[in-house]
């Protein structure tokens, strides 16, 4: 699967998107026509071809130095866009590997066999132990990946909205497909859907207001209008609503209330996918919107983002302390990290700061680490599926030193301890913020990091320093897919912490947005 031989240059720029959406569309056909027995391997292969192919295609485009506005101005394929697309495609491919794991659950999959069967019904109990495997998740997830990749290159608000829906709708669905604890999973899906629809409405309303104020939905057009005609109430209000819609997706407090419930209820591979990819996509869109459309009038968004960053860091760090479920804890960690990412957004400083490169690097580093952490969560199990209650992790290090070691390392990375990617990322965004004079924000962020470190440490304490619980969790032996994910994420977390130079340079060179 090389790059598609395209008659025009713009098709080349679209190649990553075409690959992903093509794979997803074929996946739907496979679902309809292929016999059940071959569906799973075919779907996995197709999803991997789509995501890995898109990853390679973005790399090729990046090597070419592609930087153009294409598809009649609707898409901006630029350095930052390609970096984000590559990150999403790569993380997406790793997530697909987690989806494809068949060695851990006795029923060979973490997804429900037939989602439409009511939970708890006799048929459902029958299916619980059946080895029938749900394969619709693969095209759905690949559609979501495509939507995310479109989202980060959308150069006009309407395309951005469509991309938002394309990425959201499959996510709503696959959140509800957990094989075990189905009611929790369905509740999560409904909650995510309702709140997500609400956020979409905010976005759409904001879009309408911005259009009303500027007469255009093109980001560059808005920038022009802002520069020549200034900003009126209507525009600022519209911007506010757009930002709310995006912050919801990025699970930034105070728009985070769905995050813990959905992260807990969704099947863990899906949670990993959301935590890693959705975060990247949402922040990609936030960066593009604020930088391209409103970069010349940063006073309109700086105070809001400044405040929200503080709220998100504090809410994530403080509420994370009280959690007793690993997945919920990681959800609050994700909220806190969203706050740290916003410090990087503040570091944009109207386009002169190093905030863009810093945020890109942070997204990559965080995505990989959090994906790895959720992958470890899928390993720790009891007779009832995954053992996510903290007390069940007690003494894990004596049962499985390797698993505990990997988790401890990833947690230290999330806490931002030096020699891990988490530290490099934090350093980059805090430096960007301090450079533009936002040092009070950076100091608050540092204090929040220390608070958040407490709950990461608590898990390490449980795993290492507590005696194993009698009925504690066991550690499943991962199959090849999960092993690959763990190897890649741990290696990346270490490499980006010890020798981050080349990737930082890459992010630095990629840090251009055209509009």
């Amino acid at each position: 699967m090389g790059p598609i031989q395209a008659p025009s240059l713009s098709l080349a720029a679209l190649a990553p998107l075409l690959l992903v959406f093509g794979a997803a569309a074929i996946g739907v056909l496979v679902e309809a026509f292929a016999p059940r027995a071959v569906r799973h391997p075919v779907q996995v292969a197709l999803a991997l071809v789509g995501t890995v192919g898109a990853f390679l295609a973005t790399l090729l485009l990046a090597v070419d130095g592609t930087e153009e506005v294409t598809a009649a101005g609707a898409l901006a394929v630029d350095g930052a866009g390609l970096f984000l697309q590559a990150t999403i495609a790569g993380l997406g491919a790793l997530s697909v590997l987690l989806f494809a794991e068949r060695g851990l659950d006795p029923a060979r999959s973490s997804f429900v066999a037939a989602a439409a069967v009511p939970a708890g019904s006799p048929r459902d109990r029958e299916l619980l132990t059946s080895e029938r495997v749900q394969t619709e998740v693969y095209p759905l997830a690949v559609f979501a990946v495509g939507g995310m990749m479109l989202f980060v290159t959308a150069n006009d608000l309407l395309v951005m909205f469509i991309a938002l829906e394309v990425l959201s709708l499959p996510l709503y669905l696959i959140s509800g497909l957990a094989r075990r604890r189905r009611l929790l999973s369905q509740e999560a899906a409904v909650k995510y859907f309702l709140l997500g629809a609400f956020a979409s409405a905010f976005f759409l309303y904001g879009l309408a207001l911005v259009y009303g104020a500027t007469g255009t939905i093109r980001l560059s057009g808005i920038r022009e209008s802002v520069t020549t005609e200034g900003t009126g109430t209507l525009l600022v209000l519209g911007l506010g609503l757009l930002v709310v819609g995006l912050l919801f997706k990025a699970s930034v407090a105070p728009f985070h209330t769905w995050t813990p419930d959905v992260y807990q209820g969704a099947p863990t591979p899906v949670t990993a996918f959301m935590a890693a990819c959705t975060k990247v996509a949402a922040f990609g869109a936030i960066l593009r919107l604020l930088y391209v459309a409103f970069g010349t009038a940063d006073w309109t968004w700086r105070p809001i983002v400044y405040g929200i960053a503080i709220v998100s860091m504090l809410v994530g760090a403080v509420l994370g302390l009280t959690q007793t479920d690993v997945k919920r804890m990681l959800a609050y960690s994700s909220i806190a990290h969203a706050g740290f990412l916003l410090t990087g957004v503040i570091g944009l400083g109207g386009g002169t700061g190093s905030g863009l490169a810093a945020t890109l690097f942070y997204l990559l580093a965080y995505g990989l680490t959090t994906l790895g952490a959720f992958a470890v969560v899928t390993l720790v199990r009891d007779g009832d599926g995954e053992a996510t209650h903290l007390s069940q992790w007690a003494g894990l290090a004596t049962r499985s030193p390797l698993t505990a070691g990997i988790m401890a390392f990833l947690l230290l990375a999330l806490a931002g301890i030096p020699l891990t990617s988490g530290f490099t990322g934090k350093f980059a965004v805090f430096r960007a913020a301090i450079e533009v004079g936002a040092w009070p924000l950076a100091v608050i962020a540092l204090v929040a990091s220390a608070v958040a470190a407490f709950f990461y440490l608590r898990l390490i304490v449980l795993m290492y320093f507590s005696d194993p619980a009698v009925d504690g969790a066991t550690v499943g032996v991962p199959g090849l897919p999960t092993t690959i994910v763990l190897a890649v994420t741990v290696a990346a977390t270490l490499v980006l912490g010890v020798v981050p130079g080349s990737v930082l340079d890459l992010a630095d060179r990629a840090a251009t947005l055209v509009g």
Binding site: A357, T398, L412, A415, I417, P418, L419, F423, T424, F427, A428, F430, R431, I434, E435, W439, A442, V443, L446, V447, S449, A450, A453, F454, L457, R458, I460, V461, Y464, F465, S466, D467, V499, P500, G501, L504, D505, D508
Partner: protein
């Protein structure tokens, strides 16, 4: 010979050694000990050889290695030592093998394999070396924080009954301080970026910056808080008694012996030269904390019923002296403070080890459980007395020289504080001698009667542990000149950075003092 990357090797050898020990298969604790001892002895040899290669009259930072590490941040992997760092390396080199031998017979709580303990010990040694030899502020910060991880696991996995609480408290206190320092580190970078046109973390470039007074104060505070927690100064000290008491003896020795010195080392290496004006402005407040700490910790030490907590409180009192010496802004004071750091590592390390041997016999940390140990184990009692006397700075022991230097160095600048601090010496005599008297002398009682067989005298291994430290206590008490010759030029250079110290450029005045020390 001076081209050999001594410092890099000193970091790499224990780091690789730690990895090797960690990679040993389960149940190979015996091999783990041997590897750990061999590696730590190699580091000691390297430290000695590095000292030989070091030219006392030469440049400030020697044996330097520097390669670009993260160009995007302007970070270099830059190593180098001055006399101050070098003596700390020697201290690390001596203490780690001693700790390994002292922990030879330890067993982990709940039968945990000790392999991990020795692995972490070696990793910790690599980090400790790194933190003293880094000449790039970013690199220093990396080691400063990364150092927490091995100590966290040492306390948490192998410590006493409340080890989980102590480990987390230790980690969070240090991390919080470190993160505040990180803000200042980035701030320094931003200042350097605006003044030099290119951001840098290189210590030599940073100390030539002219920082605006207001900014300087903020940046100083960031560093100061981190180091004050690390040192620790009262009122940032509450983590140390918990960590020290719960840590296994070996870990505790390194914690109070070396890790805490990073705080005082930071004062003299970073706070003073980088922010001289702010350091002068804040010095009176620091002095208040230092003097308060000397008195307060001494009183608390007297009130302790737990042997290990008592030792940690004596340390906190001593750190007050070190801070006094550093912020005296005189070469004598500074030299005394650095020498104090080394001597404190030796004497408190010895005290901690002997106390550990006592606890290993009785199985209790309570002073009240012991009495008349000297009747059963006269050698143990004797060593405890020597350690105690060294700790209270009796003339003839190593600590006396440094305490005296600190006091004469700070008297010209801070007479009142110095006089008040002197009271601390009297208190030190009280808490040390009371502890020795209660546990060692009088008729046998408590555990000594209940477990008569347990209180054997020091065995051969234990003598091997204490002998080098006792030799150093006496040796450095009588003849500290070699160390002073290393420390003095570096401190003098620091005082030049701080400026306005007339004594800074003059030659060492320590020789007569050392003779007084021998009296």
């Amino acid at each position: 010979m001076s081209d050999f990357p001594w410092l890099l090797t000193m970091i790499a050898v224990p780091a690789v050694g730690g990895a090797v020990v960690a990679a040993l298969p389960r149940g190979r604790d015996a091999q783990a000990k041997v590897v750990a001892l061999a590696v730590s002895l190699v580091v000691l040899v390297l430290a000695v050889l590095a000292t030989v290669a070091f030219d006392v009259g030469g440049e400030r930072f020697q044996l330097a290695t520097s390669v670009s590490w993260i160009p995007a941040f302007g970070v270099d992997f830059a190593l180098g030592v001055d006399g101050i760092a070098l003596v700390m390396l020697l201290l690390i080199g001596v203490l780690v093998p001693v700790v390994v031998v002292a922990s030879w017979r330890d067993t982990g709580p709940g039968g945990r394999p000790m392999k991990a303990y020795f692995a972490w010990l070696l990793v910790l040694e690599a980090m400790m070396v790194g933190v003293f030899v880094a000449t790039d502020v970013f690199l220093f910060y990396v080691f400063f924080e990364a150092m927490l991880v091995p100590m966290y696991f040492i306390i948490g996995s192998f410590g006493g009954p409340r080890r989980q609480y102590a480990a987390v408290k230790f980690f969070l206190y240090s991390l919080l301080g470190g993160l505040v320092m990180l803000a200042s580190v980035i701030g320094l970078y931003v200042v350097s970026n605006s003044q030099l046109g290119e951001g840098t973390f290189a210590f030599d470039a940073l100390r030539q910056l002219e920082i605006d007074p207001g900014v300087q104060k903020l940046l100083f505070l960031g560093f100061f808080i981190a180091f004050a927690i690390k040192a620790p100064l009262v009122p940032f000290h509450t983590w140390l008694p918990d960590s020290g008491a719960e840590a296994p003896i070996g870990g505790g020795v390194l914690l109070v012996g070396v890790l805490d010195k990073v705080g005082t080392f930071g004062f003299i290496r970073y706070c003073l030269p980088l922010f001289p004006d702010a350091a002068r402005d804040f010095a009176p407040y620091v002095l208040v904390l230092a003097v308060l700490g000397i008195g307060y910790a001494a009183l608390l030490a007297m009130g302790q019923s737990d042997l290990k907590r008592l030792v940690t409180y004596t340390s906190i009192a001593h750190f007050g002296f070190i801070a006094l010496g550093v912020f005296a802004f005189t070469t004598e004071g500074g030299t005394g403070a650095v020498l104090y750091m080394v001597n404190h590592g030796i004497s408190t390390g010895l005290l901690f080890l002997v106390v550990g041997m006592l606890i290993a016999r009785g199985g209790s940390r309570q002073i009240g459980d012991y009495g008349g140990v000297a009747t059963k184990a006269p050698l143990l009692a004797g060593v405890l007395l020597v350690a105690g006397l060294a700790s209270l700075a009796l003339p003839g022991t190593n600590s006396f020289v440094s305490e005296f230097l600190v006091l004469i160095g700070s008297f010209p600048t801070w007479p009142v504080a110095t006089v008040l601090a002197t009271v601390g010496i009297v208190l030190a005599a009280l808490y040390v001698l009371l502890m020795v008297q209660r546990t060692m002398h009088g008729p046998a009682r408590g555990l000594v009667l209940e477990k008569p067989g347990a209180f054997r005298d020091l065995g051969r291994r234990e003598l091997v542990v204490v002998a080098p430290l006792i030799a150093l206590v006496i040796g450095l008490g009588v003849y500290p000149q070699p160390l002073l010759a290393l420390i003095d030029p570096a401190v003098a250079a620091t005082m030049v950075d701080v400026g306005s110290d007339p004594a800074g450029t003059e030659p060492v005045t320590a020789e007569p003092t050392s003779e007084q020390g021998a009296d």
